[in-house]
Amino acid sequence: MSANLLNLSLFGKPEDELIIIERAKKNPAHFAPLYKKYHEAIFRYVYKRVDEEESAYDITSCVFVKAIVNLPRYEYRGIPFSSWLFRIAKSELYQSFRDRKAQRTISIDSIQIGRVLEEFNIDEAEHKREILLKVLPMLKEKPLQLIEMRFFERRSFREIGEILGLTENNAKVKTFRALIKLKELYAKHNPQKS
């Protein structure tokens, strides 16, 4: 495939990426280097939010199909191409939850639990971890996705804003509010009221 001949190291710069995007708008086969570059990041984003690995691969594939079909409408306005792809991934995820093709899942590890407790200024005692794990799924979708992106995936406020269509400042404020909501839920379910 001619697109494969494009040297991947050539598009380290955003302007090189834009050249590939322009080519791919005319011929979808030229999208191959972008697919190679972003497949893993999109897959991991999806995988963390669905319960089955196969569903994550299917949704990832749908994300790229949708991206290529809608590519002629893509215009660079300062927002990285990766954020545009994550926006499509977010919309594909919610579509699959609505269609009941996948179940909304929160994937969390011990380090991430510790990070949230640290944000609460709470030590990592076992029962406190359990309370956090109990209240996390109680959060509504919008605050939950902010907590996931900021504390589990360690994204910058700028990136969160680009993915959710918010300004950097707005993303910061909303994340802070989401943390307060989580803290309230935690306090409500903590019998010791630490």
């Binding site: 979808p28 319960d51 594939s61 749908c62 290529i68 909304r104 590890d109 799924p137």
Partner: protein, 57 residues
């Protein structure tokens, strides 16, 4: 109901890379594009009209 998975094993970079399938993506792009094409709906409309005319006559 949101499901919670703690310390879930993540697929390795190699496992994910092995599942890349750009050819299938391209095939699905062609399918979606042909479904969105005005020719597709035009052809359906034209044949429906033809059948209707035939039935009336």
């Amino acid at each position: 109901m949101t499901k919670l998975l703690v310390n879930r094993k993540e697929p390795s970079r190699n496992e994910i890379a092995n599942r890349q399938d750009f050819e299938t993506v391209l095939v699905n792009v062609r399918k979606v594009k042909s479904l969105n094409s005005p020719w597709f709906y035009g052809a359906i409309a034209f044949s429906s009209l033809l059948i209707l005319t035939f039935l009336i006559l």
